[in-house]
C-alpha cells in the first residue's frame, strides 16, 4: 500500500483520507462490529423448525377476507367488478379483498414461504394454487383443516375429485377450477390440425411451436405420448428421462420456439407460434378476442393432462370460517355455472352443467368447460411426486429450459 500519491490535489487528499481510515484500529473494530451485526441479522432468516400451529379464528367478529387468485380466473363485468363476489358480500356481510397476485406456483410459494413456515399471516386468508403445490403445502403442514360443517355444499364436489392421494376426503383443500392441457393450433396455418404430439415435431412447424413452462403439463403430455400412464405409480426416472430427451432434442434443434407460461398467447397472436402445448381456457379467450374460431384446442390422441387449482387456508389466517363461507358459496351450482361460463375452465361443482344448460346454453355443450365422461377418460392427472423425484424432475426440466 505504499504506492506513490496521485498528482491531482483532490484525489491526493481523498487517498490520504482513505488510508487514514483504513489504518485506524477503531474503524477496523467498528467494521467488525457491523459485520457481526450483519451476520446476526442474516441468521434471523427463518429455518423450518417444527410445524406451525393454526391461528386463532376471529371470523365471528372480523367480517373481512382476503383471497389471492390467478388472472382472469373469476367472472368480471365491463366495469371490473366481480358479480358473483359482489353478491356474496351482499348476502353474508363479509367484505372480500380479491387479489390477482398469483402468476406462477413457484414464484408465489417463494414469496410467502417464510411466513408459511412460521405460521404467520401471508397476506391472504385463502388462495388457489395448483394441486401439486397444495400437496407440498399439506406435506409441510402449512395449511389448516377445513371444517366440513361450515361447507355443506361440499356435497356438490365431483366424486372423482374427492379423494386425491395428497388429501383423502378433501380435509384441507377444496378445488376451485380444473382444466386441460393439450394441443392447440392455428386453424388457418394448419388446416389439417394437430392430432398427436408427433405432429408438433413436423419440419413444417420448425420454430413455430411452444410448450408450457408448467413441468407437469408439458412432461405429462410427452410421457403420455410415450405410453406412460402418468396417474399410476409404475413409472419413474427412466420413463421421465426418455420423455425429457424428446423435449431436449426439439429445443436444441430449434423446433420448439419457447417454453412458456401464459405468454404463449402473445406468440399465437403475433404469429411467432402456430402450434403449442396449451391450456384449454386460454384458447377460448383467444378466440373470443379474435371474434371467430381462429385457434383450436384438442386433447392429443394419447391423452392430455387434467390439472386443478385448489382453495387452501394457510395456518396464519385468522379468518378460516369466513374462507369456508366463501367456499360454500362458490359450491352452489348457480354460482359455479356463472363462474365457469366466464373463465372457461372446468367447474368441480356437480349440478353446474344443468344450470348452465338453462342460463348459458352456448357453453353447456363445450367439452372443454363441461366435459363428458368420454372426454374426461382421455385426460390424466399427474401423480403426486415424492420430494426427491419432484426436485430431480424439476431440475431436469429447468436445465432444458435454460439451454446449454
Amino acid at each position: 500500500m505504499t504506492r506513490q500519491l496521485p498528482q491531482d490535489p483532490i484525489v491526493r487528499e481523498l487517498v490520504v483520507q482513505a488510508r487514514r481510515m483504513q489504518f485506524s484500529r477503531r474503524n477496523i473494530l467498528q467494521g467488525a462490529g457491523i459485520g457481526a451485526g450483519a451476520l446476526a441479522l442474516a441468521a434471523c432468516a427463518p429455518t423450518s423448525a417444527g410445524a406451525p400451529k393454526p391461528a386463532e379464528d376471529i371470523s365471528a367478529t372480523d367480517k373481512t377476507l382476503t383471497w389471492s387468485n390467478w388472472p382472469a380466473y373469476i367472472d368480471e363485468d365491463d366495469d371490473g367488478n366481480y358479480p358473483t363476489l359482489v353478491r356474496f358480500q351482499d348476502q353474508t356481510g363479509i367484505s372480500v379483498e380479491y387479489k390477482v397476485d398469483i402468476d406462477d406456483n413457484n414464484t408465489y410459494y417463494g414469496t410467502i414461504k417464510d411466513q408459511l413456515a412460521l405460521g404467520q399471516f401471508t397476506g391472504a386468508d385463502t388462495f388457489c394454487l395448483t394441486e401439486w403445490m397444495v400437496a407440498r403445502l399439506i406435506r409441510f403442514g402449512y395449511v389448516q383443516d377445513l371444517d366440513a360443517a361450515n361447507i355443506p355444499n361440499k356435497k356438490n364436489l365431483a366424486p372423482a375429485l374427492l379423494n386425491p392421494d395428497f388429501d383423502p376426503g378433501r380435509a384441507k383443500s377444496l378445488p376451485w377450477q380444473n382444466g386441460f392441457a393439450g394441443l392447440a393450433w392455428n386453424t388457418e396455418e394448419i388446416p389439417a390440425g394437430i392430432k398427436s404430439v408427433d405432429d408438433l415435431w413436423k419440419p413444417a412447424l420448425k420454430g413455430k411451436v411452444t410448450v408450457l413452462s408448467e413441468m407437469r403439463d408439458t412432461m405429462g403430455i410427452l410421457l403420455l405420448s410415450q405410453g406412460v400412464d402418468i396417474s399410476s405409480e409404475d413409472w419413474g426416472t427412466d420413463e421421465y428421462q426418455a420423455a425429457i430427451a424428446v423435449l431436449e432434442e426439439n429445443v436444441a434443434s430449434g423446433q420448439i420456439f419457447g417454453i412458456k407460461g401464459n405468454e404463449y398467447m402473445q406468440d399465437f397472436v403475433s404469429g411467432d407460434a402456430i402450434a403449442a402445448i396449451a391450456w384449454s381456457g386460454d384458447i377460448t379467450v383467444l378466440n373470443a378476442e379474435a371474434g371467430y374460431e381462429k385457434w383450436k384446442f384438442a386433447l392429443p390422441e394419447t391423452g392430455g393432462t387434467l390439472w386443478g387449482d385448489t382453495f387452501v387456508v394457510p395456518m396464519g389466517s385468522p379468518r378460516k370460517a369466513n374462507a369456508e363461507t366463501l367456499m360454500n358459496y362458490y359450491y352452489e351450482p348457480e354460482v359455479a355455472a356463472e363462474v365457469a361460463a366466464w373463465v372457461n375452465y372446468i367447474t368441480p361443482v356437480v349440478g353446474a352443467k344443468e344450470v348452465a344448460a338453462e342460463k348459458f346454453p352456448e357453453v353447456a355443450d363445450n367439452q372443454l368447460i363441461f366435459p363428458d365422461a368420454d372426454t374426461l377418460s382421455n385426460a390424466h392427472i399427474f401423480r403426486t411426486l415424492d420430494s426427491a423425484d419432484d426436485q430431480a424432475f424439476n431440475a431436469e426440466f429447468q436445465r432444458v429450459k435454460l439451454g446449454a
Binding site: V11, V15, A38, R139, F257, Q391, Q398, G403
Partner: protein
Amino acid sequence: MAFAAFGSTAGPVEQAPRRRSWVALVLLLPGLAYLALFFLTPLVSLVLTSFQEPVEFGDVGQFQQAFKIENYATVIEAYWPHFLRAFGYAIVATIAALLIGYPLAYFIGVKCRSKPLLQAMLLTLVIAPFFISFLLRTLAWKQLMADDTPLVQALKSLSVLPADGHLTGTAFSVIFGLTYNFLPFMTLPIYTTLERLDTRYLEAGADLYASPATTFWKVTLPLSLPGIVSGTLLTFIPASGDYINASSSFLGSAQTQMVGNAIEANFLGLLNYPEAAALSVILMGLILVIVGIYVRRTGTEDLL
C-alpha cells in the same frame, strides 16, 4: 474512487475539516445504518447461503448452513456457457450503445449548444422511454420483431433472413434489447462531459493544421473519456446481470439464456437457493474483476 474522480473538474480545492465533528458522524449514521441493513446484511446472507447444503432427507427448498464449497464447482460446470453468453452479449451491447450513444450525445451536447430549446427537447427524448415501463417496452419490441410483421417479411424477401428464420428468440434480438434498454445510461454521462467541452480546443486543433478526425482522436475523445467510462460501466454492469431481455417470455429463447436467467430459475423455479447464491457471488466477483481491469486500463490516472 474512480467515480469520485470524474467530478474533479470543480474549482478551488476545499480544505477537508481536520477534526471529525460529531455532527458529521450523526449525519452519516442513517446512511451507514442503511448500508449495513440493506447492503451488508443481504451480502453476508448471500455468501452464507451459497455454502449451504440440502437437509438430509429434506424437502424442496430446505437447506442448512454448511461449508459446501462444491456448490461453486457445480454451478461453474453447469452454467459456464451462460456466463460466457452474459458477458459476450453485454460487451457487444455496450459497444453498440457506445457507437449509437456517442454521436447522439455529441450532436445534443456540442452541435445543438446554440439552440437551448432544441437541446432540452432532444434530451427529453433520450429520457422519454423511461416514462414507460421497461417491461412494456421490451414486450413492444417482441411484437415488432414477430414473424408476421412487415419488418421480418421485408428482411425475408431481401434474403437477409432465411425463409424459416426468426428475429425474436435469437442472440440478435437479445443484444438489440439490451442495447435499446441501456442506451440512455450510455448517452447521458457522455452528454454531460461533451456538454462542457471547450470548443476553443477544437479551433486550436484546426489552427494547428490537424484534420477534424485527428482533432477528434487527440482532443474530443480524451476529454470525453470520463463520460465514456461511466457510460460503459452503467451499461455493461446491469446488462451482464440482466434476465428480462434474454428470457423466453421476452426477446430470448432456450438458446439465448444468460446467467441472470440461471439465477432466476434456481431461485424461483427450483428453490435451489445455495446454487443461485453461488451463481450470484461468482457473477458479482467476475463483474468486479472485469470492471477493475477496465478502469485500470482506461487509466483513471491518465484522465486527471
